[in-house]
Symmetry: C2
Subunit: 672 residues, 2 copies
């Protein structure tokens, strides 16, 4: 089967492609190519030379082009005011002509895809002049793709969409058409950076930096026309494993020279190379700790090598002791990123981006926002999300994450309305959910998460529900062949609340990590990590459950927040219900703000969650005959699995807590 068009089906270009379009400026080949394709399909015309307003419906032009080719465009330049910048664009209407101006070909391309989103509305008189610029300068996807198939993690670590689009069985795939199509989809949602290999860097992957660099350059060449710069995950031990040096000590002159030379060679091959991504001293990866150096030393070593070429290093803050003793209640993995990194604030070079997971643990469906994000004002910060659904159903469950990310981005660390997380970070990074699956993401509806990630990275203030509808409208809906209104309404109903539904039937009240180690975090296992070295506990006993993270009696994690939130989280009275068990160990009869007890809440949400999934499935089934058959069946199968899995979650969680607490369900529903 051919690859699914995702949010760029031919039909989305009808409004644009049926018009007379003038494309103007140098180096705008990508835009010209899109317009030419659209017009060829939908009966429009493409012009490249100046003309009068009457001869054109749409102008796409670089602002600095002199003279602008049509009077309407000249007028628009006057109206535009402040320059839109490298990636922005200005959209206006002048008379009957829609004008889109940008300073760069990439800006123009983003503008073009904005027109696609607007559809016919772009050509109505009430289109006001508006300047569009991305809120965050880098909007990046990390691919955890391995070049060689890892014996445990496979071709794509935490990948649920088949193989990698870049690599297969130890070598590059050279499937440039697929990569180009991917670049086009990413440009359409404003993503401008990508790292092409897993942060856990194996021996084969390490060599992408040196003798396998051509494979990286090939990808960079394909993605460059879409405004996307390529980054590379590197191993901190590269000077040893690739360079043959006796050490990778960041203070060693030979090591610094090796990185400088190696990096220069990278830039000689890939002039706009983005930089390095590093997971150091974490889960077995090497790092500066081996040499008694700090993570600032480590990050600055690479930053120094990258600086002359305009590159950056993304240094992950995901550093913790993964050999904890479960008997020791004083150690708290949630504290680790803050404890490791906050003392280093101010020590990082300006081209270091500290990449901080959104929560203090590990991409759970519910965590508090990482306190690191509010504690490093002198450091460039990226917040890291996980589009790939490691802990949110592994692309077998419908789980639209837009609302969750929107909550995270809108969190106010200082409880003042002005400054949200989105204002604190300079970029948003996410682990990709894409593979060589014909639907890109395994679950066709998981495309919406990739879409929403790009859109929220461009503008964190977008309403995630509106973004969902935008995605639904663009995909029209995916593979739709019939009653689009009904299909759209159904998709909306299935997806809009699906993250909260997922939260309901999985680990309760923010306690997290009741997942199965054997099935790589898929499905329930309440004690799966309770006696493990990974530092992820819930401490459930016959009397209660939860982790005391207060300063007074617990691990003190709550004290890592600015005082306002520290106080809220530490107070049993004020702590939000959804995070109660993350911050407190409470008895099962503790009464929530909702009025329910903890134990009854567990029962209720789990019964409700499964009922909601059953409704999802029922809704989907009613679309039979209205959709492309392959897509319909793919989603139908996954919904069957979601019902099965959600039921398993419900029954295991309820049974576990019933067996421990001995408290029966107030409504007498079956618990085993």
């Amino acid at each position: 089967m051919s690859v699914h068009a995702a949010w760029l089906p031919a039909e989305s270009f009808v409004a644009l492609g049926s018009r007379r379009v003038l494309v103007h400026g140098d180096g705008v080949d990508t835009v010209l190519d899109e317009v030419t394709r659209a017009c060829a399909r939908h009966g429009g015309q493409v012009r490249r030379s100046p003309c009068g307003d009457a001869d054109v419906d749409l102008v796409l032009a670089l602002r600095q082009a002199v003279p602008l080719p049509v009077p309407a465009a000249q007028a628009a330049r006057q109206a535009a005011g402040e320059p839109p910048g490298d990636e922005g664009f200005v959209l206006t209407r002048s008379g009957d002509v829609t004008v889109l101006l940008a300073d760069t070909p990439t800006g123009l391309l983003y503008g073009l895809f904005h027109l696609v989103r607007l559809g016919a509305a772009a050509f109505t008189v009430d289109q006001p002049t508006r300047r569009h610029r991305p809120a965050l300068r880098r909007r990046m996807l990390d691919h955890w793709d391995n070049v060689s198939v890892h014996p445990v993690m496979g071709q794509v670590e935490r990948g649920y969409a088949g193989g990698s689009i870049f690599w297969r069985d130890g070598a590059a795939r050279h499937d440039l058409a697929r990569i180009r199509e991917y670049g086009r989809l990413l440009a359409a949602v404003g993503i401008n950076a990508i790292s092409v290999n897993n942060v856990n860097v194996g021996p084969v992957e390490a060599r992408l930096l040196t003798d396998r660099l051509d494979d990286v350059a090939e990808i960079a060449d394909v993605l460059r026309p879409y405004g996307i710069r390529v980054h590379l995950s590197v191993t901190f031990a590269a000077p040893v494993v690739l360079g043959g040096l006796p050490t990778a000590d960041p203070r060693d002159e030979q090591v610094r020279a090796w990185w400088a030379t190696t990096t220069r060679q990278v830039y000689e091959r890939i002039g706009d190379f983005g930089g390095y991504v590093v997971k150091a001293d974490s889960e077995g990866q090497p790092g500066p700790f081996s040499y008694g150096r700090s993570h600032a030393d480590g990050a600055n070593l690479l930053a120094e090598a990258l600086a002359p070429h305009g590159g950056v290093v993304h240094w992950r803050a995901f550093v913790y002791n993964h050999h904890q003793d479960w008997r020791d209640r004083s150690t708290d993995r949630a504290r680790a990123a803050y404890d490791h990194f906050v003392p280093l604030d101010g020590d990082f070079r300006t081209n270091v981006v500290l990449q901080v997971k959104y929560g203090p643990v590990d991409f759970q469906p519910r965590e508090p926002v990482s306190p690191v994000l509010a504690a490093m004002p002198a450091t460039r910060l990226a917040m890291e999300l996980q589009v790939t659904q490691e802990y949110t159903g592994q692309q077998r469950h419908v789980c639209y994450l837009g609302p969750w990310w929107s909550e995270l981005l809108g969190f106010r660390p200082w409880q003042t309305p002005e400054r949200t997380v989105a204002d604190v970070v300079t970029e948003l990074v996410a682990v990709s959910n894409v593979g060589d699956d014909p639907f890109w993401c395994g679950h066709p509806l998981a495309q919406a998460n990739l879409y929403a990630f790009g859109r929220l990275a461009w503008d964190p203030r977008l309403d995630p529900t509106a973004v969902l509808d935008e995605w639904i409208d663009l995909t029209s809906p995916p593979g739709s062949t019939g009653d689009t209104g009904r299909v759209r309404a159904t998709l909306h109903a299935i997806m809009d609340d699906s993250w909260r539904t997922y939260e309901r039937y999985t680990a309760p009240l923010g306690v997290g990590f009741m997942v199965d180690p054997l099935r790589h975090h898929y499905g329930p296992n309440v004690d799966g990590y309770e006696y493990s070295r990974w530092g992820t506990y819930h401490f459930a006993d016959r009397d209660g459950v939860g982790v005391d993270r207060t300063r007074a009696t617990g691990t003190g994690y709550a004290g890592q927040y600015p005082p306002g939130w520290a106080q809220v989280y530490e107070s049993l009275a004020d702590c939000p219900d959804e995070l109660l068990l993350f911050f407190h160990h409470v008895p099962y009869d503790h009464v929530l703000h909702s009025g329910s007890t903890v134990i009854q809440h567990i029962y209720d949400t789990h019964f409700t969650g499964v009922a909601q999934v059953e409704t999802m499935r029922e809704r989907w089934r009613q679309l039979a005959g209205l959709l492309d058959q392959a897509l319909f069946e793919r989603v139908a199968e996954r919904l069957d699995e979601q019902v099965r899995s959600a039921t398993e979650w419900r029954d295991q969680i309820n049974t576990y807590f019933f067996r421990k607490s001995g408290v029966p369900d107030a409504h007498g529903r079956p618990i085993h």
Copy 2:
């Protein structure tokens, strides 16, 4: 390093090898070879021609040889009485001559190794005439060795001793010297049958039956001189996967013809081929159920093909539903073998051996004896043991299993003194613990289990402690270089009670299966199989623990025993403590026969068990300098791991039950 000599070091042959030995008879090359080697090393003489009593100290002769070569032997033949049979031998003293007579070369070989065990005592006057015959006709080892490396299970399924001695990476190893040495060790303990590939038969392994038969023949050729016949695990689907037939239905004429032809071809190549081993309709393996046929139909199909050639089929009774729903308390995996097979008693051909695991579940350190063994009087039965320590420490823990097997063999199903399990079965089969490790078994002390298995299969009434001492004495001890008395005493102290120690620090009171699925059954995970499809539950809640298997209120499993035992097991007052939780769900404050409550028993045994392992380690450390360094270190490392693992068992089990029960330890020891 060279391969360890196990229980046949050169020193064990001193008494025999320093004498004048007459070897007499045709086809006794293996015996002659052993004697020649021993005498060459220890200064004795080998003779082949008749002589007077004064010229010889030891005669090893076939009884039917006429005339017997020396007067002493002729006298011995008179005294021997009844013939010793195919595998037996007669040992006597006549004047100053020790005489060993047998009817076959294999019997003579067994006699020779008996002399090795006796050492100097074989040459003292008070050696009475005694006939030795094996109690069980077949004493067999099953190798769960894969030809190709299985992606999950590796080269040897449940193997903890390196690779396979037969296969590597998809092909035969052709390491005939190693296989010969293995055959010698097995003959020395009386093992006379071996199956050379895993009961889970993959596509490559299936072909051992046909185009890879030469590899099997090569092994058979090497083992034949040691009295060992080679068997093969086959897939029930062979007619389909190898023969290209549309079905493997046992009633299909083409299928029967295929098996007949194929089997004839096997015997043309390997005249003394032993037969087939089959795991059918179990854990994903194909079987007669696919065709609506019974397991008697299935087994008889193969038996019919083997019968003309004197072969047997070992048909495993390990058939159960491994897709159980943990919510359903009425299904009980323990019942499965009985429910499947007992109704078929009398339907199996005489060359079918039904191979029954010793317990109803799966090789746990404590289970009741399988009721199938007492319920199929018209069927040939083998009891299956597991020498490889899947559930007993995986050859990282010292766990001498002789006492456990002795208990199983001595179990009296009808509570009458006359008939034990050993009287009911015609053979004993065990899964091998041998790999290409230089110490054969990974853990040097695990050799004792292989030794004890062979000895108990020859004579189930042997005292397992005496067998242990025999092994210690023979290995002298393994690698010993110094104070052998101290070494022997220490080994005895470490090993003798080690199975009960293992039982103490793992799952309590017979409830079983609290093992970690992720680490392939190594280490504790109390709820590891509690919500799984494998049918292995303990049902612990805040009030109590255990599985009700009574007829009145439970699964009814206890009713599968003869009335006496059914009554004992069903009675809370009479059920033995060590099986209490296998048969009953009881409150934590239930008082055992020992006077302790269940919960306090859990705490006490777990603290005691770990203390005992620490003592083991301490004892071993005191042998530093007295043993071969490599052997000393190998055991020392494993004891470190055993202490670590036992501590983990103790703490997880105690913590789990403390959190559930809320009952503190009466002695206030640390529980987490």
